[in-house]
């Protein structure tokens, strides 16, 4: 018995091409990892524990699609039916085929087209035994399972709302070809197997056999010829799918596996494009989960969401404009089921596309006049919100903190606004100037009122002292009893600034602080799901009307439960929300200052500042 037929060629060649192509890509991506990451990779693949952890994640995320389930059960079911269903079909099909061929060395196509090769009459013998019957049952069940997912996938393109999505991704030509062939694979298999079972009157399972009998009965053509054509069709769609897969969104299937391994080996996004970036980019399934949550929708921007940006990166066609049309708020990263760092990728592209113009900051003269326990860096923006600065100074006077307001008269920008424009090299100079100033003040703590500054101090400055946003600093002062507060009994909602919340993971300190003197409301979208105020310095391509639309959208959400005051901890958020005049907007520092009993402020003003020794508790460090 020769288990070969010409129709297996499209499948076999397609599969061969796919394997070679993936192999080549993986090799390229692994070899273009940064040197540090290469070391991590080579040690990672020698570590059985890391391999096991990665495999476990592959099982849960690639086959079960756990994150999709959490998002929407229908979406989860759809993805799992395809992934797990097909995977089991292949694995069990292999086992089943061994049972028939009696050898472990089957051609790759043999299990796929098994029903074609085993239709001869001898097989009827197996019908009476439990094992082949079990396989027939289970293979039909799996096929049915995948077909049910297919039905859902079809529905998703029509009724995306049922899947918790308002928008679906717009696809490219390769995506359409791959999608069509993918959707055809399983119906073709069903038809091929059914016709074959129908023609021979045996060999089918609970679904394929009755369907085959029925089809044989109604189709007025020679059934063996129809069956054979169907096998050709099945092989062809498989072959075409395999060849188009590397050029379509379905490349995410193999790539995500590699990405999971990379991540578990401790590889993280870098500042420049590397094999890791390539892996992330090819892991995007264009599922479109990042579309609905993007606030740019409100501004009528529909061409620059993470999924489209990543697609452009993959196609090596990213315009400067698209790279800069983004709030860099990080919401899409939070919801991405694959865990792609789309903000990092966006900044990488901005760096690449940034003009070569060097900066000239030779005009900056740095000299610190004196030393203090606390260096207070209010940030450029806070000079436009003087109430924040005044409140901070007032509070520090009440608490008896000796402080130096580093950027009182002239402020050297922290550098992050330049970095958001892709000008990291130019930002470096500013970082050095500020570092020198901060070091010269010989302070124990650097406190800033601006989350943009805070994030860059934490991430880029490498300072040997504690760095705190004033939310954390004020909380410590309150906890240690240095500032007395009286309750203001106001209904307050807190807005998480992007760089303090998602950017620096400071969620609890501001809430705990507000809870000490006000009635803090819970917000619809908060913490890692908080909306951007719309004023982001990361956005370059929105005009003021578009920004207003995004700001009003965020306010609609924040004002749902009717707060009396909108609290935030960022001068930029304060200005942006304040513009709309829909609710009083106050910074945490202002609210704390207002809650200090009047008597304490009077007695403190004019007093000599006394040294301040912060309590370095582990609890305080963790906020």
């Amino acid at each position: 018995m020769i288990n070969f037929n010409l129709f297996v060629l499209p499948f076999s060649l397609g599969l061969l091409y796919l394997i070679l192509k993936i192999g080549k890509d993986w090799y390229k991506w692994i070899t273009t990892l940064s040197p540090v990451d290469k070391v991590k990779f080579t040690s990672g693949i020698r570590n059985p524990i890391q391999i096991l952890i990665s495999l476990k994640e592959v099982f849960f995320e690639v086959l079960i699609h756990r994150k999709m389930w959490k998002r929407n059960p229908l979406l989860g079911y759809m993805h799992m039916s395809f992934a797990l269903g097909w995977f089991l079909l292949i694995v069990l099909g292999n086992i089943e085929s061994r049972f028939y061929s009696g050898t472990h060395l089957n051609a790759p196509y043999y299990p796929i087209f098994l029903k074609f090769f085993i239709h001869d009459k001898l097989v009827i013998f197996f019908e009476v035994y439990a094992v082949p019957r079990f396989f027939r049952f289970i293979m039909d069940l799996l096929l049915l399972y995948i077909l049910s997912g297919l039905l859902l996938a079809f529905l998703k393109r029509k009724k995306s709302k049922w899947f918790g999505m308002k928008q679906v991704t717009r696809y490219q030509l390769t995506d359409h070809v791959a999608l069509t062939t993918l959707w055809l694979i399983f119906p073709m298999r069903l038809l091929a197997e059914s016709f074959t079972a129908g023609y021979y009157g045996s060999g089918g399972g609970f679904m394929t056999q009755p369907l085959g009998n029925f089809l044989t009965w109604i189709v007025p053509l020679p059934t063996d010829l129809v069956a054979y054509t169907m096998w050709w069709g099945y092989s062809l769609v498989l072959g075409i799918f395999f060849v188009t897969l590397p050029y379509s969104r379905y490349m995410h299937i193999p790539t995500e596996v590699l990405l999971i391994f990379f991540r578990n080996f401790g590889i993280k996004p870098k500042k420049w494009y590397s094999g890791y970036s390539d892996t992330e980019v090819h892991s995007c399934s264009r599922c479109g989960v990042c579309l609905d949550i993007c606030q740019m929708n409100l501004a009528g921007i529909h061409d620059s969401q993470a999924v489209y940006f990543i697609r452009d990166v993959r196609d090596k066609y990213v315009s400067e404009q698209i790279s800069r049309k983004c709030l860099v708020c990080g919401r899409c990263q939070e919801v991405c089921p694959v865990g792609i760092h789309s903000d990092s990728l966006r900044l990488i592209k901005r760096r690449e596309l940034s003009s070569g113009q060097d900066a000239d900051y030779s005009f900056v003269s740095v000299s610190t006049v004196r030393t203090a326990e606390v260096v207070y860096f209010s940030g450029c923006m806070s000079h436009l919100t003087p109430s924040i600065i005044r409140s901070m100074k007032g509070i520090m006077e009440v608490a008896g903190v000796s402080y130096l307001h580093l950027d009182e008269n002239r402020s050297i920008c922290c550098g992050r606004p330049l970095m958001l424009a892709g000008k990291d090299r130019q930002a470096h100079d500013l970082v050095e100037f500020n570092k020198k100033l901060i070091r010269d003040a010989r302070a124990g703590i650097l406190v800033t009122s601006c989350p943009i500054c805070y994030r860059v101090f934490k991430e880029e400055y490498n300072l040997p002292i504690r760095i705190q946003h004033h939310a954390q600093f004020l909380l410590e002062l309150v906890r240690s009893g240095k500032i007395p507060l009286q309750s203001m009994h106001r209904r307050i909602i807190y807005h998480d600034p992007c760089d303090l919340g998602r950017g620096s993971h400071v969620y609890e300190a501001p809430r705990e602080l507000l809870g000490k003197f006000s009635d803090l409301l819970i917000s619809k979208e908060e913490k890692n799901n908080a909306l951007c105020c719309g004023g982001s310095l990361g956005m370059f391509e929105a005009d003021h009307q578009q920004r207003d639309l995004m700001t009003n959208g965020a306010l609609d959400s924040l004002l749902t439960f009717g707060p009396e005051i909108l609290a935030t901890s960022c001068p930029l958020c304060k200005k942006t929300f304040g513009k709309m005049n829909r609710v009083p907007v106050k910074d945490l520092a202002e609210l704390v200052f207002e809650s200090i009993p009047d008597g304490r402020i009077r007695s403190a003003s004019g007093s000599v500042s006394v040294p301040f020794h912060p309590e370095l508790s582990s609890e305080a460090e963790s906020i």
């Binding site: 400067e320 800069r324 003009s355 070569g356 113009q357 060097d358 900066a359 000239d360 900051y361 005009f363 900056v364 003269s365 450029c380 923006m381 000079h383 436009l384 008269n409 002239r410 402020s411 050297i412 920008c413 606004p417 330049l418 424009a421 000008k423 500013l430 004023g535 310095l537 370059f540 391509e541 929105a542 005009d543 003021h544 009307q545 930029l572 200005k575």
Partner: protein, 109 residues
């Protein structure tokens, strides 16, 4: 246009017949909001760089619109990009994108 080479005396006139408006056109196309400027000076008055040196963003982009890019070439690299100018502009000009555009234009044109 014929290149007359080195000019001993620079003409101080904004000469619309001689000046080069390519950068102005490039900028206005890239960031149309630049055309909204009424020259109030808020941007320059608040400018973080302007507190240290004579950098004047209003003059830079106004001169570019007049076809004179000399000041931009000398000074634009001093911008620290902090965004205060944009946060204060009463006409809602997207100034940080204007500055990026000037960088790009000076490189390309």
């Amino acid at each position: 246009m014929k290149d007359f080479g080195y000019q001993a005396h620079r003409d101080n006139t904004i000469d619309f017949e001689k000046n080069d408006f390519r950068i102005a056109r490039f900028l206005l196309e890239r960031e149309p909001s630049l055309n909204l400027c009424i020259g109030c000076g808020s941007c320059t008055g608040t400018c973080s760089t302007g507190h240290f040196t004579e950098f004047n963003i209003r003059k830079i982009h106004t001169l570019i619109k007049r076809g004179d890019t000399e000041m931009a070439r000398k000074q634009i690299r001093q911008c620290m990009f902090c965004g205060k100018c944009q946060l204060i502009c009463p006409r809602g000009i997207n100034l940080r994108n204007v500055i990026l555009g000037i960088n790009r234009a000076l490189e390309k044109i």
